[in-house]
Each structure stands twice: as structure tokens, then as C-alpha cells.
Amino acid sequence: MANAGGPIIEIEALGKTYAPGTEAEVRALRDVTLTIGRGDYAAIMGASGSGKTTLMNLIGCLDTPTTGRYRLDGVDVSTLDVTTRAHLRRDKIGFVFQSFQLLSRLSALENVMMPLVYGSTPRGERRARALAALASVGLEARAGHRPTQLSGGQQQRVAIARALINDPPVLLADEPTGALDSKTGADVLALFDGLCRQGRTVILITHDANVAAHAGRQFVMRDGEISESRP
């Protein structure tokens, strides 16, 4: 693994401006500097409009910054083309979304297997890997169920299994409990806690202080600027 000893995420003076030079110009991020180490459990909080979604898109390599530099696992993302960024996402980042983003026509197992098509996993190994990932979130018994046949908490666990399928070093979760009641939300967060204990870097994007409290490091975004709150 490249740069095995260093931090997994290094962000230096990152800025993102939408519609620059026009009247609609929005400076969503201003000069954000942030370092997250391997195995860190981080939460990024902030109200809507604070820039936390923009930061998440940049960390997730879905977007490119206007200024500054972002290194993910030693790779400078700022300059990569769209295809290389896609492959970097595949290898380094597991996404968990508030609305689960499962494909309704596929079974739980097929949803978990879906990202493997874009990697180099031989066809014969995909099923076994997906079953193992489902087992790690306690849903091996539901492999053949469609998303509509699963509860919200179960759906989010399927989504987490899908995020883990390529064994990425970073798990990036955007309001993962936002669509769940507090009991199932707590179950999902317990799952993240366990994953972090196993050495995976977990980043939660949330507006909920109770969710953020699970993380060892807490950052707050306000008007496009970030600060770490020391508990």
C-alpha cells in the first residue's frame, strides 16, 4: 500500500467556488486544511449550507477542488481525470448514503455484488465475497430478498456491505442514520464503531451531535471553514 505509514487523507488549503466570476458565485469551501489518519473515526458536522456536503464530495473524489490540494492514501486527487478518479473511488472509498441507494430490481446479494463488475475480481469469486460481506453485517439470511422486502435498518446494512465489498480503506457515510429511527440508527452506528475498531477509517457526515459523538474526532463546518472541536 502506498505511503503506508502516513495519514490517509491530507487536505491542504482546499477551496471550492461554484460559478466563479459570476453574480451567482458561491464560495462553498474556503481554505480548508484537514488531516485524517489511518483508522481514525471522524465526524464532520455542520448545518445545511455550511459546506459539509461539498467537502464530502471532494473527500469522496466525486468532485475536484477549485484551489488547494487533496491527497488520498498518498495519491494527489486534485489533478486526476474523471476515469482515474472513478477507479480511485472503487479502490479506496466505500460510500454509505442517507437514502441507501439500493437498486430495487436486484436482490440484497446482487446489490452487494454490483461494484465488483467494475473491478478485477474474477466472476467465480464475486458471489462468495458478496455473501461474506453480507455475513459481516449479519444479513446472510436475507441474501435473496429485494430491498422492498427489507426494513430500513436492514437496507442500510446491505448498503454498508456493498460499501465494504472492495475492501476500501475509507468508509464515507453521509447522514447514514438520517432515514432511520433511533433504535435501528443505533444499530447501524454500532456497526461503524466495530468497523473502525477493525482498523478502517470511518468518516461520518452529519448534523446530529449524538451521531457525531460516536467519532473520536469531531470537526465542525461553518460558512465554508472547518474547525476541530476538542471534547
Partner: protein, 410 residues
Amino acid sequence: MTPRDVVQLAMESLRGNLLRSTLTALGVIIGISAVIVMVAIGQGTKSELDRVMSSLGSNRLEVMSGAGRAGGARMGAGSMPTLTEGDAQAIKREIASVAYSSASVRMSAQAVAGNANWASTVLGVEADYFTINNWQLAGGDWFAARDYVGAAKSVLIGQTVRKNLFGDEDPIGRTIRIDRVPLRVAGVLAVKGQGGFGQDQDDVLFVPLATAKRRLPGGARIQGDFVQQITVGAASAESVGEAETAITELLRQRHRIQAAGQDDFQVRNLAEIIQTRSETTRLMSMLLAAVATISLIVGGIGIMNIMLVSVTERIREIGLRMAVGAGPLEIQLQFLAEAMAISLGGGAIGIALGVAGAYLAGAATALPVHLSPGVILLATGFSLATGLFFGYYPARKAAQLDPIEALRSE
């Protein structure tokens, strides 16, 4: 992503929308089956035409004695002989674009051999006649040069005549009587089959022109040097038209017809007549080609339309696939494969329907039908091209989506 993955992804999403996919393929199905029927009939007609043309002898012109006058009443073509053996010789001698010519007389006669008899046509011809008309020998010999000069009592017979007069026996050297004149069978001609107008070309007997005119009572009625018809072989297929003009000019001159006077003969270009007859089939083929083109375009637009709808419907799926690591090329391949699967599937059904349709059309209209593997290949190529062409834009549109926007959309 392996090619198998691409195909599997496409099939998965098409299965999810089976009815819609089938309806979308309908345009291609109709277009491809029209292509198959069109080409099958077109090729069938062409090979049938080629067969008829080669049995007729290509490059062939016929000069008929023109409408004569009996009192004030004009008689039909050939009713009064105006052509002479000398005309036939002059045509060959003086016109460069003419390679062969043969004067001929024709009569109906009852041919008798032993106990059998058969009503047929007797043609008195010159040696070039067989070359111009592409006759082949099945057995025996052609007439010798001295047979033509000496009015030998020899006859060549067609297969139909042989069958009816001799059955399975060998006719060579046997005697046939025509109007009580005994003629020795010199040879039997090879089968020629149906002519361009459906007549049996093998129901015929040939004698040297001199024999017909001097020895047979039927031929002797045509007096002096006159003949009913001159058959001309042009030097090449291209020079047929040129020869036609030259013959008309030469004969007008030889017959001393004034500039304002009417021809007392007719030059007929049989190949032209038969080609005109094939015009109908050509028109039908063109109509089918138009149908095929239009339905392939309409079918392609249908595919494009449905693929655009599909991209819009599945915009979040596309965003998700991009988030988990699909590059633009992989997204484009997936959607292109879906479009190609629709058009190739439609093409396969269209080929099956087209083959069935071609045979049905052949049976119903008696049009000749010819199906070659090339047609199937052509149809497959057309459906492939349709899918590629009309699937490219929607697939590209999907590939260019921004994953953030796509994930956020409802």
C-alpha cells in the same frame, strides 16, 4: 469489466422491462424482415432473369418480315415475306457490330417416326442460328457445311420431340417423316427449358434452310429467296443497340424504302422485352427497400427514444454506479450494449420472420425467391449498425452525467 459482464448488465435491465424492450424492437423486426424479403426476391428475380437471358442467347436481335399489304388490308407481322437470304448475308457482311446472322423459315408440321407422331414446329435455319441461340448438342452431330448447301435430308430434334417420337430409344440415325419427306436424325439438342414467355423451347425440329425451302412442301410455299425471319447475334451485349440501328438502316437501303416510307420489317430486341417484364419486380423490390429503410430509421429512433427515457429513469442508478467506481466508458458500454441487445434481438426475430415471409411470398406470387447466407449477414450487419448508431447518443449522455447531480436527483 469483461465483455460478459457488459452483456449480463444489458440483459438484466432489459429483462426488467421485457414488454417495453420487445415493443421497442418492433421497428427493427419489421425493417429487417423487409430487408430479407426484398433481397430474397430481388436476387431470385435476377438469377431467374439471367437464366432466361442465357437460354435466349444474350446479344440477340430478331428481324421479322414486316406487315405486308393484301389489297388495302394490312396483315400481321411476318404475313408477307420481305426479307431475303441475301439480307441475312449482307447484315453479317456489312455491319461491324454483328457477329452472326441466320435467315430462317418456320412452319408447323406433323412429325412421324414409326408408329409415333407429334405435332411440332419445324425451323429451317443456317449454321449461325445455333450459336446465336446458345443451343448445345446432347448427342449426334451438328449439320455439316455441305448439308446447308446441298439441302441434306437431315434433322436435329429438341428433347420434347425426341421423347414423344422415340421414348427411351436412341434416335440418332433414325428417320422422321415430315409431310412424307423422310429425314435422317443427325443429332439431339440439349434441354433448354422454358423460354422467356413460358413456351417449351425444346418442342422443335431443325432442318437446314435450303432443305426447308426446297424439299419440304410447307417451306416451298415461301417463294424464291424470301425468308420470314433473320436472327442476328451482336458482337457484344453493349453493341446490341448499335447493331439494331445499323440493321434498320441497311435494310431500308436494300429494300429501297424512301425517307418517309414505313419499314417493311421489324427489329426486335428480346432481351429488352424481358427486362421490361422484370421492371415490376424491380419496382416491388424498391418499395420493400423503402419500407426497410424507413422502418430501420423509425426503429432506430424508437431505440434512441427508449434509451433516453431509460437513462433519465435510471439517473440515480448511474450516479450510484459512478460512485462505486464505474468510469464513463463503463457506463457508456452498459447503455450501448442495451441498445445493441434490442436491435440485435429484433434483428434475429426479423431474420426468422423474413425468411418465412420470403418463402410465403414466393409461394403466393410465384415470384422466384433466392436466399443466400450473405442476406442473413447483411441483415445482422444492418441491425448491429442501427443499434450502434441510435444507441450511441443516449449512452454518451449517460456517461457524461455528473455523479453528484445524478445521485441527488429524484
